[in-house]
């Protein structure tokens, strides 16, 4: 799975996700990536999110929208909301994976509970980071 989230200079957020799914899948199985609110979500009032992981769990947790809701309704920070969902609730159900997120202020989160996640970011201040492992 691949994904991208962005904040432009006008304050707009966007998110996208694309995937080949899982090897040997059958019966037209579809994971979270194309499900708006599960694997992909963006709202200028809160954040933009793209997920990667065991899709069935992300769908049942309504992962991306739940993080946005936590920020909007419980006033959690992006980091707190995403850590709660990925590091606690996803793992508690037996799922795994990660996500990338950016909020309306440009704060970035890239939590994952697997051994690694291919991830990177770049900012208008020239800060850039590319990582694979924890």
């Amino acid at each position: 799975t691949v994904g991208c989230v962005a904040l432009d200079m006008y304050g707009n957020l966007a998110a996208g996700t694309s995937t080949g799914g899982m090897t040997n899948k059958k019966f037209g199985r579809v994971g979270d990536a194309p499900i708006i609110g599960a694997g992909t979500y963006a709202n200028n009032a809160t954040c933009a999110i793209s997920c990667t992981g065991w899709g069935e769990f992300y769908i049942r947790l309504v992962m991306a929208k739940t993080i946005s809701d936590r920020m909007e309704l419980a006033h959690q920070s992006l980091k707190d909301a995403s850590d709660e969902m990925i590091m606690k609730q996803l793992g508690a159900l037996g799922g795994d994976g990660g996500m990338i997120a950016i909020d309306k202020d440009g704060n970035i989160a890239m939590p994952f509970n697997t051994e690694g996640m291919y991830r990177a970011y770049i900012t208008s201040e020239g800060k850039k980071e590319i990582k694979i492992y924890k």
Binding site: T1, L7, M9, S18, T23, A42, G106
Partner: protein
């Protein structure tokens, strides 16, 4: 004037012992190429939506990642891809699922968002709509990579009922039908 872009290329069991310096360099280069594509648009005053599309297209075109060219194979030996995009400024969204002939599925998701009143389209209908919307259509063989094909043959040889998640193979060898875990695959 502040802007930023974040990308991922999948999570999972990325063992350092199986990662050669050459492979790591290729993955890093692939991520860097996507960052550059998206950042160039943002730096020129482009929209977040266009930047997301550009970055994901680069990742879809790179056979290292499980999307577009290099996507994994289904049990039937096909590449069935899904993609979604969402605009945070107006909550518009588009997605496609189970498509096999759209070179860049993310462009089809964008077409669903921009050129239809719907949010999600699947299978043959999504492919027909993508073609009518100007998305590039390719023969399914375009998506083939030997590494992904070999992975399918290996898992089918072990047990054809198993389904391998690309993000964590150790946890993803799902069990036989009837077992509780089977429903997840």
């Amino acid at each position: 004037k502040k802007f930023a872009l974040v990308i991922h290329g999948g999570a999972g069991t990325i063992l350092k012992s199986q990662m050669t310096p050459e492979k790591e360099k290729l993955y890093t280069q692939g991520l860097n190429d996507a960052l550059t594509a998206g950042n160039d648009i943002l730096a020129k005053g482009g929209t977040a939506l266009d930047a997301v599309l550009a970055a994901i297209k680069v990742l879809e075109d790179n056979p290292l990642f499980n999307a577009g060219k290099g996507a994994v194979f289904t049990n039937e030996g096909r590449n069935e891809m899904d993609a979604a995009i969402m605009d945070g400024s107006n909550l518009k969204a588009g997605s496609v699922a189970g498509v096999t002939t759209i070179k860049n599925p993310i462009t089809a998701a964008r077409a669903v968002m921009d050129k239809s009143e719907h949010v999600m389209m699947t299978g043959k209908g999504a492919e027909k709509f993508a073609q009518q919307s100007g998305c590039t259509i390719v023969d399914p063989s375009y998506f083939f990579t030997k590494e992904r094909w070999d992975a399918l043959q290996k898992i089918k040889a072990e047990d054809s009922t198993k389904t391998l998640l690309d993000h964590d193979s150790s946890k993803a060898l799902l069990k036989q039908p009837g077992n509780r875990d089977y429903k997840y695959g």
